[in-house]
């Protein structure tokens, strides 16, 4: 499923299920077990128990979130494939008469990353890349929105923060996919529950898209498993990720975390690209799907059932790493680096040859290979055989059909921050303090460990602008922009607002590099859905996300839900709706490049200039509270229109979306980028409180005479030299740069 999450039930429920059946350690609830018994008319087999345990986990079934997610907008003129498959696809443009789509997938790998940060984060990248790959797309980029504990270099949060970054780099660098976007927030609320979200982008000709369900006429087709030899790693993973993290038991849980193998993945990706070429040549419509939670069983059941078929699988034909594993482990274990094809028999032979002989999978990793393990059946039954015996035989639709948990929730009371007088702001001390704040300081110590330029398509690498930009189609001027957002300082205060604002921030970031926003993906990272207050935060976030996306005409084509992000003490992470926005540049030559360009440019603030401090970095530095920014979608659309029009007219020399640290930080970032490129350009600005974070854009323009200035304010201009002059106070740009670039260096030496 597209929205496969990291969630699960509590230990208590797990033991209950255990006690009643006397069966293996599964997390199915009593009422769910009873439903299964009634439907089967018998006791389920051990394999069936584990199969339903995985398939009906929150992770695979979205039972407590799916009905809410229906409220999210999924349609629009740009949508090629909406939610419902392993990844979504948005129409990018036409090159040489061929329509191209950009594929996007978005997931979390929170729980594994908290326990074993390197492997957890690495397999997060590994999994999201497979989601894009199995749509028939070439993987062109990844992004990693991270929510980490307070950035104390010592102790477990620091260990997690470093391990996660090393895992993301270690995997992405090796497979040769550039990391082009991402962010990191450090909050105490993530000390016991980090959030590791991953986003992947792909490029595909729209007529080459491969679906993750059996096409018409697939009866008797072969089911081909490809990749790593199945081993016991990740057995029980779907249930594992549902357990609230309990430090005492984390050691026990380590067996449920998967083992990354980017080396094998590198080869698997390239071999799969070769297979895509073969299918194109022979005009074959096949089906391809990533193995995630639920392993071979979950993947083969869904890919066949969603096309209206059943499947018969012979578990003895599965290539295994060690002999003698029980059938339920082979069927449900979550060994990484595996994918599943449905292919006509004659095509399957050629596909096996590509993987096993041309790309020599069996030599690349121990017993890795492509193998026929079963066939598609017209009867809608899901059947597993092992050593001659039938170990599972259930209705496919009953196994994979939607189950639903309507859990009670508490309405979240919207934040009404008391309006208060803004304190007198001492820019001289506060500006450096804001630049050094953990949410503002340079992320370079993180992203310099990521390869941002492999594939040779990078236009704007990570860190130089609000969004990363690629030119993914050789010979084409079409560009793709990607940005992420989701501010936990807002999440702590108002879940619904934070979700709306995440959409605005991701969209603005894409606009600021000159792109037209196409659509969104999201990941909703929340606490325990069985606690009405925590579940209420989730529901409010879905509402906010849906409202913003609808009002801005941005379809959400891919997403994920991660629940049970709560500590052993029972507190949930700050409400974290993390949004990714994809945009298109019709011509990458139009990209807005980093840094102030010339002296005597006008500096325009376009968009809301509301003087509020709620949720801002300034509020944290001062230890005060206040109202949140108000959101006006009409005004937002106007501001975006002005910026896009100015860029199209060629008068915008540089631009940044105004985010953490306010407009002054946006000016500083443009000045830093000029400084780093050896351009001696500073700025002089005059504005009451330039550290408020209401939003909008800061644009350096050569000529504002042709711009619709409605709602814009000229706050200053660029000057020669290396100083920022703010309300008459002079700052040295190199000194500010030193203040801004240092804080994370201790955590990431």
């Amino acid at each position: 499923m597209p929205r496969c999450n990291s969630s699960s039930r509590s230990r208590r429920e797990r033991r209950l299920g255990n006690g009643l059946t006397g069966a293996p350690d599964v997390a199915l609830r009593d009422d769910e077990l009873q439903r299964i018994r009634e439907r089967l008319g018998r006791e389920p087999t051990t394999v069936e128990l584990h199969a339903f345990d995985a398939q009906w986990s929150e992770h695979c079934s979205y039972k407590s979130s799916r009905h809410h997610l229906k409220r999210l907008p999924a349609d629009g003129s740009t949508v090629v494939i909406g939610p419902g498959e392993d990844a979504g696809a948005l129409h990018l443009g036409v090159h040489d008469g061929v329509r191209y789509a950009v594929v996007i997938a978005h997931e979390s790998h929170n729980h594994p990353s908290q326990i074993v940060p390197f492997e957890g984060a690495a397999t997060g990248i590994g999994g999201i890349v497979r989601d894009v790959l199995c749509m028939g797309a070439e993987v062109i980029g990844v992004a990693d929105p991270l929510r980490l504990g307070t950035n104390d270099a010592k102790g477990h949060p620091g260990y997690v923060a470093r391990g996660v970054v090393d895992g993301i780099g270690g995997y992405g660098n090796a497979i040769g996919v550039p990391n082009i976007a991402g962010d990191a927030y450090f909050e105490r609320g993530f000390n016991e529950n980090c959030l590791v979200n991953v986003v992947a982008l792909g490029i595909v000709r729209e007529d080459d898209l491969i679906h993750s369900y059996a096409p018409k006429g697939a009866e008797d087709w072969e089911i081909v498993l490809v990749g790593k030899a199945t081993d016991p790693s990740g057995f029980g993973g779907a249930s594992f990720s549902s357990l609230t993290l309990d430090a005492q038991e984390s050691e026990v849980n380590k067996g449920a975390v998967q083992v990354p193998d980017p080396f094998l993945k590198n080869v698997l990706m390239r071999a799969s690209y070769r297979v895509f070429g073969l299918l194109r040549e022979r005009k074959i419509v096949a089906a391809f799907k990533d193995l995630g939670a639920g392993g071979i069983m979950g993947c083969s059941a869904e890919i066949t059932a969603q096309g209206g078929y059943g499947a018969e699988i012979d578990l003895d034909k599965v290539n295994v790493a060690i002999e003698g594993m029980p059938p339920e482990v082979i069927a449900v274990g979550e060994t990484q680096e595996r994918l599943l094809w449905l292919l006509p028999a004659d095509v399957a032979t050629d596909v096996l040859r590509i993987y096993n002989e041309e790309f020599t999978l069996p030599q690349v990793a121990h017993n890795a290979r492509a193998a026929v393990i079963g066939r598609v059946t017209a009867q809608r039954r899901y059947v597993l055989r092992y050593r001659g015996a039938t170990v599972m035989d259930v209705e496919s639709d009953f196994l994979t059909g939607s189950i639903r948990d309507e859990l009670p929730y508490t309405e979240v009371i919207r934040h009404q921050g008391a309006v208060q007088e803004l304190p007198a702001v001492d820019i001289e001390t506060l500006f450096p303090a804001v630049l050094a704040h953990r949410d503002v300081a340079s992320r370079e110590p993180i992203y310099r460990r990521y390869d941002a330029v492999v594939r040779g398509c990078t236009v704007l690498p990570r860190g130089t602008a609000d969004a990363g930009v690629l030119a993914p189609i050789p010979g084409s001027r079409l560009g793709v922009a990607l940005a992420v957002a989701g501010n936990p300082r807002y999440g702590r205060i108002d879940s619904g607002f934070a979700a709306e604002f995440a959409v605005l921030e991701a969209m603005r970031a894409v606009v600021a590099v000159g792109a037209r926003p196409l659509g969104l993906s999201d990941c909703l990272n929340f606490g325990n859905p069985r606690k009405p207050d925590q579940y209420g935060e989730f529901v409010a976030a879905v509402d906010g996300l849906g409202r913003a996306a609808t009002r801005l005409d941005l379809p959400i084509v891919s997403g994920n839900v991660s629940l049970y992000n709560e500590s052993a003490g029972g507190s949930a992470v700050p409400a974290s709706t993390i949004v990714a926005c994809v945009g298109v540049l019709e011509d990458v030559a139009q990209v807005v490049t980093p840094g102030l360009k010339e002296t005597r440019s006008a500096l325009l603030w376009i968009g809301s200039r509301e003087l509020v401090v709620g949720g801002s970095v300034l509020a944290e530095v001062l230890g005060i509270e206040g109202p949140l920014p108000s959101i006006s979608y009409g005004a937002e659309r106007t501001a975006v229109g002005i910026v896009r029009d100015a860029i199209a007219r060629g008068v915008v020399r540089s631009c940044r979306a105004i985010r953490d640290g306010g407009v002054l930080t946006a000016v500083a970032r443009l000045a830093f980028d000029a400084h780093l490129r050896g351009r001696a350009i500073g700025a002089e600005i005059d504005f009451g409180n330039p550290l408020c974070e209401a939003g909008g854009f800061l644009c350096e323009v050569s000529d504002d005479s042709e711009i619709d200035l409605t709602g814009t304010l000229r706050i200053g201009e660029t000057i020669g030299g290396s100083e920022l002059v703010v309300n008459g106070i002079r700052f040295s740009i190199p000194q500010l740069y030193a203040v801004w670039s240092q804080p994370l260096a201790e955590l990431y030496p």
Partner: protein
């Protein structure tokens, strides 16, 4: 009629497509040759070993690949004077195979691209490589101007040239130090070096000048769209920047 260039692919190589594409855009006739197809490698006129993590960089970067069947062909070709360019992982493989600096008898490495210092991890950073030998020292650089500055991306964890003082002396004395890291104005200092490399080394050339190993990737800064703020001319799709080295290579192959 230009010569045919092979870009061999080891298991774990990851920069092969852009390498072939830029060679092609610079007028070269280049194609991938897959490891399971290695026996075909004898028929080419020149070779470019591209970046990645061949054989997962097990033991050391390049150590396993240096003994792969592919390298039998590449070493044989190098001995016969054919041109060989190694980029990043390709450079690591050439060093491990003893083809650069090539100061030992037989295929024995005499130096290493060791773990970066002081940051002992993968670093992705834009750099400039300055040509540190006469252009004519290597056929591959012959079409570059003297002191040419080639923009590129360093993206590696093991790129620090390390060798005994005696071996480093040999590298200098034998004029093997082909490229050094520099700032964008051509000046050279420690701050320009992303990995702590001895001699500020970014590239090594063998005695005969037909084998060049460079750690940074010119092909990742090889088209105008890779550096829109340094656009040369008006065509955003045109090769530029790091493409200068690829052009020089293609001219030499022709």
């Amino acid at each position: 009629m230009s010569g045919k260039i092979a870009v061999p692919v080891f298991p774990g190589t990851n920069s092969e497509d852009e390498t072939v594409r830029l060679l092609g855009d610079c007028g070269g006739d280049a194609e991938l040759v897959h490891w399971s197809d290695a026996e075909r490698l004898g028929t080419y006129d020149a070779y470019v070993l591209s970046g990645g993590f061949a054989y997962e960089d097990r033991i050391r970067a390049g150590a396993i690949a240096a003994h792969d069947r592919i390298m039998d062909f590449v070493a044989h070709a190098a001995e016969r004077g054919k041109l060989v360019l190694g980029i990043c992982n390709g450079a690591q493989i050439l060093l491990e195979a003893g083809l650069v600096p090539g100061t030992s008898v037989g295929r024995k490495p005499t130096a290493a691209f060791a773990k970066n210092a002081p940051e002992p991890h993968f670093v992705c950073r834009h750099v400039y490589m300055r040509l540190a030998v006469e252009p004519s020292r290597s056929a591959i650089t012959a079409a570059l101007p003297k002191d040419a500055l080639v923009p590129a991306w360093a993206a590696h964890a093991e790129g620090r040239l390390a060798a005994t003082p005696q071996r480093l002396d040999e590298i200098v004395a034998g004029d093997h130090l082909a490229f050094v890291y520099a700032h964008n104005d051509g000046t050279v200092d420690a701050a320009a070096v992303p990995n702590g490399s001895a001699l500020g080394c970014a590239g090594l050339v063998n005695r005969a000048g037909n084998v060049l190993a460079i750690m940074p990737h010119p092909e990742r800064d090889g088209w105008n769209f890779n550096h829109p703020d340094r656009c040369e001319g008006t065509d955003v799709l045109a090769p530029s920047g790091g493409a200068a080295l690829f052009r020089s290579f293609v001219v030499a192959v022709a």
